[in-house]
């Protein structure tokens, strides 16, 4: 039977996500690259005790609303942007492995507030180390040495080793149960291309979990994606689900 990784709904795409799962959530911190509909589906499913892995723990509905109004004249923010803070605000997250959990300035993100209430644990990771730990998981490499963090809190409890006169930390690969990622176009094999800066952690996380689920703008016929330009080969992708053509703001009562 012909391979076809396209599933028909976001709820079906996340149906096997379980309590306590480790979710690698793609994106960087902006709306364009965020797997918003997958995050909303995980929120609807109501699974709990999640570990979220990614750059940011999200900004929070209130902050996103403020940004949308304040930025309207310079940067149109889509109405269907749901970031990992949706899961934090609903109490579904137990732990974050993040590079950018705290908002710049004195504003607090939902993750910071939950941390201060003692509801979530945090492993604060340098962004490059986070990316490489995820890449290593995909590549079957259990650990690697990086110079970043030697002599700081990041080095606590880690092996330090000298190579060619410089000190390095041993960092472990970070594998997820599910990678939730956003891409631009896919085919039925799960080959993916991205658009602009939305590639970021999305392409890094593809294949770094037991199951990789890609939220895409469009599915095209096999053969339409130029093989020279495919960024993520379909071997890394298990499911593909298409975003709605018109933005579908979610008004489900929280």
């Amino acid at each position: 039977m012909a391979v076809n990784k396209v599933v028909s709904s976001f709820d079906e795409a996340v149906a096997d996500i379980f309590d306590g799962a480790v979710l690698l959530i793609g994106g960087f911190g902006g709306p364009g690259e965020c797997p918003s509909y997958l995050i909303a589906a995980v929120a609807r499913k109501g699974v709990r005790d999640l570990t979220i892995v990614g750059n940011s723990g999200g900004w929070g509905a209130k902050r996103i609303h403020e940004l949308r109004e304040r930025m309207a004249s310079i940067f149109p923010i889509p109405p269907d942007w749901y970031d990992p803070s949706l899961l934090v605000e609903r109490g579904q997250v137990r732990r974050g492995i993040l590079a950018f959990p705290a908002a710049p300035g004195h504003m607090l993100t939902p993750f910071e507030e939950a941390y201060m209430r003692g509801e979530v644990e945090l492993e604060l990771v340098p962004q490059g180390t986070l990316a490489e730990r995820i890449r290593a998981a995909r590549a079957g490499i259990p650990a690697f040495y990086t110079p970043t963090g030697v002599g700081t809190f990041v080095a606590e409890g880690k092996e330090v080793r000298e190579f060619d006169g410089r000190l390095y930390l041993l960092e472990r690969a970070l594998r997820g149960d599910f990678s939730l990622i956003r891409a631009h176009k896919a085919d039925r094999y799960g080959n993916l291309v991205y658009r602009g800066s939305s590639r970021t952690f999305n392409a890094t996380m593809a294949g770094a979990s037991r199951v990789t689920i890609a939220e895409v703008d469009e599915v095209v016929e096999a053969g339409e994606l130029d093989p020279e330009c495919v960024v993520t080969p379909g071997v890394y992708v298990d499911r593909v689900v298409v975003r709605p053509r018109e933005p579908r703001p979610w008004h489900e009562p929280m």
Binding site: G30, I74, A99, L122, P126, V154, Y194, G196, R199
Partner: protein, 223 residues
């Protein structure tokens, strides 16, 4: 009576003077992102951003040109530029860790006289954000800090020993502030430039580590 302090735009303008043709430059969050607006048209600088865009143009100022899928590390829309390349996050940090960044311009909470950098956790906050700053501070060929000389309540940010959490030890080489340019050397801090209207004594009074004043101390020129 001390002179005026530079505004953020003028600080960015001064930082841009460190850039040379062909350099790969990464701009941190905050004031440093303004640098992309002040690169002269004949200076061919390749901007790198943590989220994987390389060789992008200035920050967009006209909303009609904003693309949600072309943003810098501060999530500001930027203009595309001929010669631009896009990579994923792991590759973006391979570029950083591999030593390909000629200059990174970072904001800071404190810098010590040895060039230790604190820039990831604001005083009074329970949680910090490392972002890409730690990788940049450890691995860029040259780390320039661009910051106000003092905190909002007037406390010096250049100190003998950090009192805020360490982001990276002995990494900062040049500090550009709203009143001076200070070089970090193995022999201590050298006062290189003064903003017009300021004296060495006035800058020293706002600096919590000793500044050496060389004979070739200059008045800062922005253009």
């Amino acid at each position: 009576m001390a002179g005026d302090r530079l505004d953020e735009q003028a600080m960015a303008l001064r930082a841009v003077k460190e850039f040379r043709d062909g350099m790969v430059v990464n701009l941190g969050v905050g004031i440093p992102t303004l640098c992309s607006l002040y690169v002269p048209p004949d200076l061919d600088v390749i901007f790198h951003s943590e989220n994987g865009i390389i060789g992008f143009g200035p920050v967009v100022t006209d909303p009609a040109e904003a693309d949600v899928d072309l943003v810098n590390a501060s999530i500001q829309p930027v203009k595309p530029r001929p010669g631009m390349a896009i990579v994923d996050h792991a590759e973006s940090f391979a570029i950083i860790r591999g030593g390909r960044i000629d200059i990174t311009v970072l904001g800071a909470i404190q810098v010590s006289e040895r060039g230790d950098l604190a820039n990831h956790q604001l005083p009074g906050k329970a949680v910090g954000s490392l972002g890409g700053g730690m990788d940049l501070a450890f691995n860029a060929k040259r780390v320039i800090v661009l910051m106000t000389h003092t905190t909002k309540d007037g406390q010096p940010k250049i100190v003998r020993e950090l009192t805020q959490p360490l982001t990276a030890p002995r990494c900062v080489q040049l500090i550009i502030t709203d009143i001076a340019v200070v070089e970090v050397t193995p022999r201590g801090l050298l006062l290189r430039e003064l903003v017009p209207g300021w004296t060495p004594e006035e800058v020293q009074a706002l600096t919590a580590a000793p500044l050496q004043v060389p004979e070739d101390l200059k008045v800062m020129e922005l253009l």
